[in-house]
């Protein structure tokens, strides 16, 4: 979706604010917002792509106004309701409905180290046709889907070169909407800064963007 989250290349968002010796979390609620998101993800009612998309679906003004872990909390509420794990009225009241069933066992503290240590592979060990080769000239498609995509607007229609081949990975554009993993090859595509931004850019610089087969055509 052409949301405000897709901000690569925008001006006007202000100076970078650097906090010296920044703590991992600034407060208990930030830590909790993080931990609640990670702990509930293990329930597998959603995936990393649908979780990202849920943040993109926040109203644009809220997206820009809210702090990072506020967005995570708002996203989690939406995911929980969409997954029928909690209801809107439970969120509003903060109390479980009287007849609500006890959930399946939650992640326990002793499961956490293994969960984080293992992570979740996004690669898939399957044979899929590789459409492009290293060194090949490609054009990023000019697509404007209303759903989730990881093809940033600033690269659409631009010509680049396959720089690295990463392997086969789950395709976010379908996975985010539970329409299948649709695994395909992913490449790092090199776009010169001048291709992306015109002659104001340095002739030496380049941006490398990870792209799935379905984002590309030969150029």
């Amino acid at each position: 979706m052409n949301g405000v989250h897709d901000m690569g290349g925008m001006h006007g968002l202000g100076p970078i604010e650097y906090e010296k010796d920044e703590p991992v979390f600034h407060s208990r609620w930030e830590a909790l917002s993080f931990a609640l998101n990670i702990a509930t993800r293990a329930g597998r009612k959603w995936n990393i792509d649908s979780g990202r998309h849920e943040i993109e679906l926040l109203p644009a003004a809220d997206y820009l106004r809210m702090s990072y872990y506020e967005k995570w909390a708002a996203r989690l509420e939406k995911l929980l309701v969409k997954s029928c794990l909690v209801t809107e009225s439970e969120i509003a009241s903060g109390q479980p409905a009287p007849d609500s069933p006890k959930a399946t066992p939650a992640v326990t503290a002793d499961q956490v180290p293994k969960m984080l240590r293992t992570g979740a592979l996004a690669s898939r060990d399957i044979e899929v046709e590789q459409r492009f080769q290293i060194g090949q000239r490609v054009r990023a498609l000019n697509i404007n889907p209303e759903g989730h995509t990881r093809l940033p607007r600033y690269a659409r229609g631009k010509i680049g070169e396959i720089h690295l081949h990463h392997g086969v990975y789950v395709f976010p554009d379908t996975n985010a909407h539970f329409r299948g993993e649709n695994p395909q090859h992913v490449y790092s595509v090199r776009f010169t800064a001048r291709e992306l931004w015109g002659n104001q850019a340095s002739p030496r610089d380049a941006v490398y963007i990870d792209m799935w087969d379905d984002y590309l055509e030969p150029a």
Binding site: G8, E22, Y68, Q95, A106, L121, L151
Partner: protein, 204 residues
């Protein structure tokens, strides 16, 4: 947007995140969806166990061991696993080597992708809209804001983490550190240098 929707959007966003998150926590605990001890374990992991010291160990090893560096650049995930780092948001690692000619900078313009397993959770500036918007269009200006002025003849490579690959910058080893031990070298390596917004200084 209808008045109803408008009202709804604002209702869904209470002004005080402290209350909002507390309420969500107690609801999820009562419903059995989360275990408070697991929350504490998650928080403790990223506050005390997994952070940029991990990445610094990887960098220091690469500086003193050319064979390790070769493995690290060829297969980042496997070489990092040799030092027992890996897992969540480090499942698919690529290491980018800075040289006297090339400077690498990592960003996630679409969200906040960051190599947790070697750098921990990202700092606020990395997730902020100014950094995300400008790193790709004006990397040299962004680096200047961090106090790093790069000569024109250096090639700047910006890596936009749009997929599940996670990038770690291997900074240049600073001059004058030839006699340092691996531990001393690791102590010089900063988070910022491993994202690419700083160089490593010879004195910690």
């Amino acid at each position: 947007m209808s008045d109803h929707d408008h009202h709804h959007d604002h209702q869904a966003v209470p002004s005080d995140p402290t209350l909002r998150v507390k309420a969500l926590e107690s609801l999820l605990v009562e419903k059995g969806l989360v275990d408070p001890a697991a929350l504490d374990a998650l928080i403790d992991t990223y506050e005390h166990k997994v952070g940029p010291r991990n990445g610094a160990r990887v960098v220091a090893r690469a500086w003193i061991d050319p064979a390790y560096k070769q493995r690290l650049l060829a297969d980042g995930t496997a070489a990092i696993a040799e030092l027992s780092f890996g897992g969540a948001q480090g499942e698919h690692m690529r290491v980018l080597e800075n040289t006297p000619q090339i400077h690498n900078l990592v960003v996630c313009t679409l969200c906040s992708c960051y190599p947790w397993s070697v750098l921990g959770l990202p700092p606020a500036w990395y997730k902020s809209t100014p950094y995300r918007s400008r790193a790709v269009i004006d990397p040299r200006g962004v680096l200047r804001e961090f106090g790093l002025e790069l000569p024109e003849d250096i090639e700047v490579r910006v890596w936009d983490s749009t997929a599940e690959l996670r990038y770690l910058v291997l900074p240049e080893r600073p001059p004058g550190t030839e006699n340092m031990t691996e531990d001393e070298l690791a102590a010089l390596v900063t988070r910022d240098a491993m994202v690419g917004v700083a160089k490593v200084s010879p004195r910690a």
